[in-house]
Structures are given as structure tokens and as C-alpha cells.
Symmetry: D2
Subunit: 361 residues, 4 copies
């Protein structure tokens, strides 16, 4: 194996606190520890297809550690294997552009590519690896639903935003005897809702992994009333279906469906069935922004430097991971596709039940 | 005038950071400075009607200064002059219960009543004063739309929550080339939207006081694009009507209308007209919760001690206020009813325009 | 074994974010899940000796989850096995009062005792266990230096405070070309300094586990200067000895030595040897206060409920712990005495070096 | 008067939250509203002397609004009228370099100069104005001790940091029955100590403007003890002299005196005289760093745009100011030299006393 001299870094998918910390760690460790050059590919896989990149030096990553967003830009649209093109008539077609993408990588002189992303982005990374591109993945998702790692960077920061929201709703709910419903992110898994529910002392936690009924939710509220507690805090994951099994969506700007809206349905049901003045807050993209938490900054730094180590060692098709408190590497085929769910009978759910939280089941 | 020996304190209306700071200031200054007893009336005017109260000592207010909510409870429902009763058949009737309320006050031994509240609560306070009850008002509203004072407590804290949200949306918008719409509180006036827009560097600010068109909004977005800025942050007050003049409401739990929803309409319009992936966040009650800001704690402390001074001096029918950086007293009839609007041609709007913000006009 | 009907909870040692979360979790899970009564022992082991306690109900722990401090009080002075008494003449003597303490526990009806504390407190817990008292320990220390658990509650919160301080110093240092020295807690181990150094992007990290010289520190500063970086951030653990081996202390109020002061010595050395305007901040007790982080709240909740489970199961002489991401129980003799140090050649130190941090070695 | 086409901006003195917000507001309003070019002078007056500058465009100030520090750099050392030079032998001499500085300004094409700074920086600005340079000042100081304006930007942000510190110390003090002394900035005036004392509920507030004795301080502590409060929070301004009149200083790195140290002396006195375990925290430069508060961002934006308006209108020798809630202009000779002190018998002190705070007098 010829030794690596130039490494590429690309951030894909939705925003996530810690992306800049990863870019900084990859760049600094590549330069200072391994004497490499670093290519920053702009706009996620879009930049790979359109040959949009720049060299990253120490100065480019100075001061970005505490900042949200990604200096490289990202999107969750472009896929080299299914590249969307729109004809002059507006017809949308998809084509496999991966050959051009790989040729661009060669043109950049990139001998190993670090890809930070979630489910979708890492699936593309896996395919690139299968086509012979040396690729190391990095687990990025606020939802914390990636297989293969105990935790992804971004989750702890999103949890801060969600817990802070529960704290703020709590005092109003208690003073004003309200129901307060907080809808948090989690399209397929309830990690944010569960953890913010425990951390904020939520009374009712509704997640995709545990089917619930409004009758049970209302029973919890009434049981609390019988103990003199005239308010209840409900934390609900955006991906939790209604008791009927129906998944709630909002209409997105382009007509497509975007998640969200279950919070309002839950608030309506509580308002009617429990006769309680109930309000809803939808945190939305607040959970993807802001400065990463210390934990996420350390994790992103560890992941970034470990990814460079793996790339330099000639590894490919693996994702860096945190397993049992140690940095590890797992094959991408163990990671994607699929989502890591909250175990409905696991420890976390059990702790929540022990302190009195109801899952509406 | 016989000197006051027992003072009452009551918090009314929606939640607002600083209520506990007010209760603490009233209680401590009444006890330590004036040697009075303090009656805390529970649940706003509901407690007055139902004779629900307790004596407050120094210990009761210890440690509450930094906490959100109100230890006395509150609601924005009960009005002694229009008390809602529901018959066994479910028929709702309203009756004037003010006589009983005033008799209760006498029974409590309250010789002067301090009332912290907004527009609605202070209107009731004014009527009580007109019926002979010694009343001093205290301006409480996160919306900052009370006449007679330069600023109300609660506003600065709500502004923190809203500005923090703009900050969080900003990095995602910039990285991911998104439109981000943030809907903030402000049913009649745009103070929060305007100030959070300036403080967060919002690109477009939509408030009830300045009519806007979607065409102008989109033109601002396109003008930014022409300068290479592929994202835009929109801050919109929940009370800003649509360009058509239509006021947007959500259906509240009990079937009544609650404000909100304009954010989604604005996001839809931008998504379609500017062909920009645009997301919306509705802050809702987050703006009413949390620990008050230092400014609000100082203001609440100043208002609370000044209110006791006024009550002890035998003043009634006045509200404490901040005017030209000094604590002052203004007659309640100058305060309510009516809301203080953002001057559309005032300094703040002008500063925002100077740094490039658009009001869609 | 007769089943437990009454459980005691006691918090010992210095302050630590999450103590109230633990008290809440123990109380709620004991009442709701196991149908027990809960005895809260006031003022740490002082309350055990002086028979100072109260029954805790659900209402007593309502709303305390996000609050710093401990509603039970604590001190790091009283030890039943070495109880300090001061004679009328001022002579200090120590005596074994453990018999009375155990008798008091029996008088309270406490059949199992949960003790949250650090090194010192858990050493006492271990002795009580050896005398036949059923005891379950709970790892509490912001320093994170307890054996037997991967992490203690309180550490993540202290890390937030320290990282936030590094962030704040960073912008000033960069703008004003300063050296900034931040002295953080860590009497025996450098966990806070190391982790805040990584999370905040500190340039030089000085910890007790890695001997350093001022020459090497200055060389790092000069190497940075040669790359155009005219500032440096130094994070130093209060327990890091000087290069001479001398441990720096401040004179405490009672004449005893309290840790601290190394930060000033480091700043002086840098100021002189590197000719750089260098300022020092000593965080002190800020690191012990404030609302616990989401992670610490979840950990404290898990530990509290697990401790009750263990007590109900008749276990004694064990401490609940987090090991490999699972809640576990470890014998107290594996925990105390002794401190868990940062491994000088471990992963965390290696990640820090990879992104360019110097340890002055 | 020939119309201005090129405006200069310079930030001087110590760090202060809001400097970047000012630079952004000056740049954006100059470009967008007035069609000017903007010269950013680097490193405060040092850049003026050394002709170190660059043109600022919209892109240069994009995203800097929420960031601490100043993108232009600053120092509180260089003075064109007393420029320090060090000979090869190490001899320090001062010379008037103002002629060269003014020539440099002309070379840059700067027709009006905006200077953001405190007492020292604005004194230099005044002298430049007297030499014929068109200069507009901007009040920048966390200490809030500038004459001519009701408040300076930076103060509210520093107050947040100080109040947050009081909050954190409070819970520990209450739980652990401690004295906690917090030393905050304020070399000549006690604004931060006073306002953080009120906002955080400090028990004792020691400021330069109100002489105190340790006996009175201890009496307050004992009076609190008699009411069952076994802890006390002391907030002390670094510039408060000891009761003996002695000003306490630390030895700075270069041998010069830097403020600070009074906190430790107060803690020692309380520890001994009140027999209370008392700890001290010295906030130091934390108060100068971090993201500016919403209020400071709005104020900095208002000041920045108003300064450009004044410069364009041909005004010179004035400072923008906030007076009676309106933006105003005041002559620099009314501003410097001299510091605005806390009125010892003013409203703020009176409010603090009303809620039970002691000033040790």
C-alpha cells in the first residue's frame, strides 16, 4: 500500500452540532500528526459530483470548534448513485454519477475519504467503498439511531436543547396548571424524547418504539391530579405514530411530507379528554443548531483523529464508533441500512418508569 | 389614613419570567423595610374570589429569585367582574363577583393590594381601585406592549430565548442553504420579533405594525442570493396578519382560537415563491419560562419594592413603571386598555433597516 | 432477610450537581415502585450523629431535579468514626461516635442506607457496612476520580462550566493576543482539565499525571507564535504540582491549606519566560454549582433507582456504577480508598495530542 | 463639507462583548445605507501607528454578530501620543507619534474615524479630534463607568456572567452552609457588583463607592444566622478598597500591579471573624468574553449605525450615547477623563437595601 498523502473530508446530511469539531480534528491531526494535506469537499456529495473543493490548512479550522453548522456546507439531497437532474421542461430524472464522482476524487488527489454522516450519507459511503474508494465513516446524527456505535456526536447537544425546553415549560405548567406537550426530533427512534423526558422530569413520554393509547395517557394525568399535581409535561417524538397507527406529517414547502404534527394531535386529545388547557411547542431545527456540548466536542475530536488514523492505516469500509467507552472501528455493512431503536424493555425505559414516568402503555 | 399593616400580592395572567422575583421583592421589602405582614393570594383573581391565600414569610421567598413561574400560581381565566360559572347542564354564565372578592380581601386584612399583570389583569385592578380597593399595579408582560412604561419585566428574558433560537437556526441555515422561519410571541405588537431580529441578525422581520407582501419578502431573499447568501432568516410575530389582512390562528384545545400558525404560512410562501427549502420553528411557551435575565430580576426587584413604597404611602390606582431610566408611578387609566405598538418609523426599526434587515414592505 | 420498609438517603462531602436528582430518584422509586418510606438524613453524616432527619414524600422532591445543591444539606467535616468535638477551652479531640450513629439509624427505622458521596464519604460508608449497616453507595464527584465506575455524576456538569470558561477566554485571548490561564478543580486527577482542554481547544493542558516543565510550555507557545498564533490558552488542574514538584496551596480561612494557586504561578512563568501578557482565572466553586447537565440528571436518576433496587434486594457494601454503558454494582472495597487517575498514555491524552495540544512534557 | 466616502473603524482597550456587533453595524450601515467604503484598522491604535489595516466588505462581517472578541484585534497599550518604544538595551521611552498616525489615516483615505473604546481609548480619540481628525466615539466598557451615557455596551453581558456565577455559588452556599465571596470586575466603580448582587440575591455587596467595615459585614452575617440562614453570599468589586483604605492588587506578570485580590482578603476576614467556612471565586476575564447578550447586540447595532450617521453628517468630537432610552450624541469632553460612579444614595442601592442586602456600612 502506498502511503496516504492527501485525505478528503466531506460532511453530509442534515445539520448536527459537532460537524465543525470533526472537520477541525481531521484537519489538525492530518497535518500535525501525519504530515498530510487535507481536501475539504464542499456541499456534501454535491461537491464530489461538481468537483467543488478546497485545501484546508490549520488557519481554516482555527476557532471553529465551538461553532454550529459546517464550514464545508452540506445537503441531504445529492447522491452520486442517484443524482437528481431537472430538465428544461421540469422533468426530474435520476442517474448514476458515481463514476464522475470517483474520477473527481482522483483528480483532487484524495487517497482516502472521511465521510461524516447519518444513515443515508453512510449508505452512500458504503457504496463508494464497494467501488474501491478508500472510505472511513463517522457517525453523525442527533437522533442517535445509528447501529454500530453506542452514541453519535450531536445527540448530547440536541438533548441539551430539548431538556432546556422541558425545564422552561415545567415552571409554567406548574404555576398555571397546564398540560404542556413538547414535540422533539426522532423520526424512527425515540432517543431524544426518552432522554429529555428523563432529564427534564417529563410525566409522559411517547416514542415510536412503545405503542400508546390516549386513554392511558389521560389516566396518568388523572392519577397525577389525584395526588394534587394539576399539570403534566408530555414529551413526544415527532416519529411516534398516533394510537391508530397513523403517522402524522406536515406538508413540506415543496409539497413533500416532512415529519411533525403529532404534538398538536396529542395536545388536542389531552385537552378534550382530560379537560386540561394544553399547549404545544415544536422545537424543530433548534435541535440541530448551536454550539456542541463538551461531550460532543470531545467525541467529535476523538472520532476525527481516529478516522485519520484508520485512513492512514489503509482501512476502508469502516466507521469509527464508541463502544463500551472506547473508540473502535465497525464495518459499514453492520451500520447501514437500518436504525437503532430504543429497546422498549431496556434500562433507560425502566429508570424512567421507576421515577413515575408513563409511556402511555 | 390609617397606616398599612398588611399588604396583599397577587399574580395574574400568563406566565412571565420575573414573577417570583416580584413576589420576593414585595415580601422582603414589606417585612424588612416596613414591618408589614404579607398575604399571598393564590391562583390570581381566582384566589381572591375563592378566598384562597396564605401568609408569606421570608422563608417562603428564599431561593425563588432565579426561578421561573410563580409560587402563588396564576391563571388568565378568572375575573371577579365576569366570573365564569358552569351549571350542572354545562351552560356557561358570567356574573359580577367583585363584591365577594372585596369582602374576602377585607377578611384577609389586606389594606393594600399589589397586582402584577398585563393588560387584562391590570384592567381588573383598575376596576377594583375604582370600587375603593387600594391597588398598585406592576407591569408584567413578555410582549412588552403595556402603555405607561418603557419596558415590562419578562420581556428581556423572552428576548433571550428568542435570540438564542435565531442563533441556533443561523448556523444551520448558513451551512445548509435554507430558509428558516421563527415564529415568536407578540399577539398585538412586534417587540419580540423586532428585537430578536436585530439581536440575532435576522434578514426579514415581519410584525403586526408594518404591512408586508410576499413579493417584497421574496425580493429580499433574491437580493441576498445575488450577493452569494444562499440562506435567509425570517422572524415573524405570531400576531402579524398575512398580506391579505387575514389573521392566522390555530384551533385551541377547547375549540377556541389561539394565536399561531403564521410562521407556517410564511414558510410555505417562501418555499414556493423563492424555491428555497424552508423550515419553521414555533417557540411557543418556551418564551414564558425559564430563569429571568439579570435585567428582569433587577427590574422586578425595583418594581416590587417601589410598589410597596407606593402602597405604604397610600397611593392607589397607579402602576409602577420605568420611564427614562427611573422608577415612576403612572395612573392605571393611562395604562389600560390598549396596547403599546412598535412605532413603524421609530429608531429601532430604523437601526434594523440600516444593517440590511427587510420588513417586507 | 426481612424485607425493607424504610430506606434512608444521605448526601456527603462537597457540593456536586445532581445530588437533588439522586434524592428525587431514590425517593420516587422507593415510594412508587417499591412502596417504601424514605428517611432523608440532614447535613450528611452530621445528621446521623445528631439524629437530624425527616420523612421525604413525593411533594418534597417535586421540582428539585434541575436544581443545584442538596435539599438535605451536606458537609465534608463530620465523620462518625472520628467525630470532632471542641472543648470549652478550644481543644479539638476526635472520638468514635459510630455506635451512636448506628443506634440513631435504628431509631429512625432505616433498614437500608443509600449514601451519595466521594472518596471520603464512601470510605465511611464502607466502615458502616463492615459494622453491619446495610449500605449502598452512589458515586458523586465532579473530579471523576472514583475507582469502580467509568464516570461519576457531577463531572459532566463541571465540565460544562469549565468548557464555557475556556470558550469565553478564547475570544479575548485571540483578539488581544494574550496568554490565558484557567485553573480548574482536580486535586488528585486531571479529568476536568484534560476534558475541558479538549472540549475548549486549549493549547496547553497541565495535569497531575503528566510532569511538565516551563521550558516545554514556553516552547509550545513559541511554536504557535511561529505559525502566527499570538495567543495561548492554558488549562491547569489545581492539583498539578509545579515542575519543581512543589504542590501549591492557598491558605484557607481557618489556617488550613486549600488547593489552588498553581494557575497564578504558571501565568507568572509564562509572562516572564515567553514575554506574553498573561491573565489567570480561578473557577473555584462555580464548578460545583448550577443545574446539572442532561447527562448528569439521567445518570443520577439511573444511579438513584438502581441503588434502591439493590437495597431492596438486600445488597450491602456495594456502590452503583456505570461500567461499559450499563449500570452495575461494585464492592466498596474496590472503590475506596484511592483515586482514579488519568492514564498518561491513554486515548484521551492521545486525542488531545493529535489535535496539537501540549502537556508541557 | 466634502461628503465622506471612506470611513475607518478601530476598537481599542480591553475586550468587551459587542465589539464585533459594532464592527458589523458600522460596516453594514456604511455600505448598504450610505454607499461608503470601510477601513478596518487592526490592533487598535497600534494599527494606526503601524499603518496596519484592510478594507472591510459585507462578507468580512457576516456571522460575527454573536461572537465575542473583535475581528480587528485590539490592545490597551498603544497610544499615538505616548508611543512606547524599547531600545536594544531595553530602555523604555515614550514619544508623540500622532503626526505619523494622522498621516497614515490620510494615506488610508479615511475621512472619518469611528473609535469604540473606554476611558483611555476615548481620551486618545478626543485628542485626535482636537488635532483635526474627524472622530466619533462609541462607549465600550463592561464596567459601565463612562460619563455621558446611561449604559455602555458590554455591561449587560458581563452582568450575565457575574449573575450566573452568583446563582451557581448560591445553591452550594445554601446546601453546605458556606460563605461565598465572588470578586467581580469594577476598578473604579461598583456597577457590576451592585447589579449582580441585586440580580443574584447577594447578601452583602461591597463597592468602591460605599466604605464598609468588616464588623458591619460580620454583623449582617450574624443577623442572617439568627434568622436560620447559615450561609452568606458576598459580591465584591475588585476595586473596592479594604476598610483600612488600602487598595489590594495582585502582582501582574510584568511586575506591574493588576487589580484583584480583595476577594481573598474579605474571605479571610469573614472566615476568622464570623467563624464561617468561606470560599472565594475570582471571575476575572470571563466577564470580558463570550457572546454578547441580546440587549448588548441591539445597543451595539444602534451605536454603530448612529456613529456612521454622525460621521456622514460631518460631526466630530462626539460620542454616541444612550440617554433616556434614546440614542444621542455627547461631546467627548463631557465623557473623558473621569469615571461615572454608582450614586451611593441612588435608586439601585436603595432597592438592594429594601430587599435586605447589606453594603457593610
Amino acid at each position: 500500500m502506498a502511503s496516504v498523502r492527501r485525505i478528503g473530508i466531506l460532511t453530509g446530511g442534515g445539520d448536527c452540532p459537532g460537524l465543525n469539531a470533526v472537520i477541525r480534528a481531521v484537519t489538525k491531526s492530518a497535518i500535525f500528526e501525519h504530515g498530510l494535506e487535507v481536501v475539504g469537499i464542499n456541499e456534501g456529495f454535491g461537491g464530489l459530483i461538481e468537483n467543488n473543493w478546497r485545501l484546508l490548512g490549520d488557519e481554516d479550522v482555527s476557532g471553529i470548534l465551538p461553532r454550529g453548522g459546517t464550514i464545508l456546507g452540506a445537503n441531504n439531497r445529492d447522491n452520486p448513485f442517484m443524482f437528481r437532474t431537472i430538465s428544461a421542461e421540469g422533468a426530474v430524472t435520476y442517474e448514476d454519477n458515481s463514476g464522475a464522482a470517483i474520477a473527481n476524487l482522483e483528480g483532487m488527489g484524495v487517497e482516502a475519504l472521511v465521510v461524516a454522516g447519518g444513515d443515508g450519507t453512510l449508505s452512500i459511503a458504503r457504496k463508494l467503498h464497494e467501488k474501491g474508494v478508500p472510505v472511513v465513516g463517522l457517525p453523525k446524527t442527533i437522533d442517535n439511531d445509528l447501529h454500530g456505535t453506542d452514541v453519535s456526536f450531536g445527540f448530547d447537544s440536541a438533548l441539551h436543547t430539548a431538556t432546556d425546553a422541558v425545564d422552561k415549560l415545567h415552571t409554567t405548567a406548574a404555576s398555571h396548571h397546564r398540560g404542556m406537550v413538547l414535540e422533539v426530533m426522532g423520526r424512527n427512534a425515540g432517543w431524544i424524547a426518552l432522554c429529555a423526558g428523563i432529564a427534564g422530569g417529563g410525566d409522559i413520554i411517547l416514542i415510536p418504539e412503545i405503542p400508546y393509547t390516549f386513554e392511558k395517557v389521560v389516566r396518568s394525568i388523572e392519577e397525577r391530579r389525584s395526588r394534587g399535581k394539576r399539570f403534566s409535561i408530555v414529551v413526544v417524538a415527532e416519529g411516534a405514530p398516533l394510537p391508530s397507527g397513523e403517522k402524522v406529517h406536515r406538508a413540506g414547502p415543496g409539497g413533500e411530507k416532512v415529519p411533525g404534527g403529532v404534538g398538536e394531535r396529542v395536545a388536542e386529545a389531552i385537552g378534550e379528554m382530560a379537560d386540561m388547557d394544553t399547549r404545544v411547542t415544536v422545537l424543530g431545527h433548534l435541535q440541530r443548531g448551536g454550539s456542541p456540548s463538551p461531550f460532543d466536542r470531545i467525541l467529535a475530536t476523538a472520532f476525527g483523529t481516529a478516522a485519520v488514523d484508520l485512513a492512514v492505516a489503509g482501512r476502508s469500509g469502516v466507521m469509527v464508533a464508541l463502544r463500551n467507552m472506547r473508540i473502535d472501528a465497525v464495518p459499514l455493512e453492520e451500520v447501514v441500512p437500518g436504525q437503532r431503536k430504543v429497546p422498549a424493555d431496556g434500562e433507560l425505559v425502566s429508570f424512567a418508569r421507576s421515577v413515575g414516568a408513563s409511556f402511555g402503555d
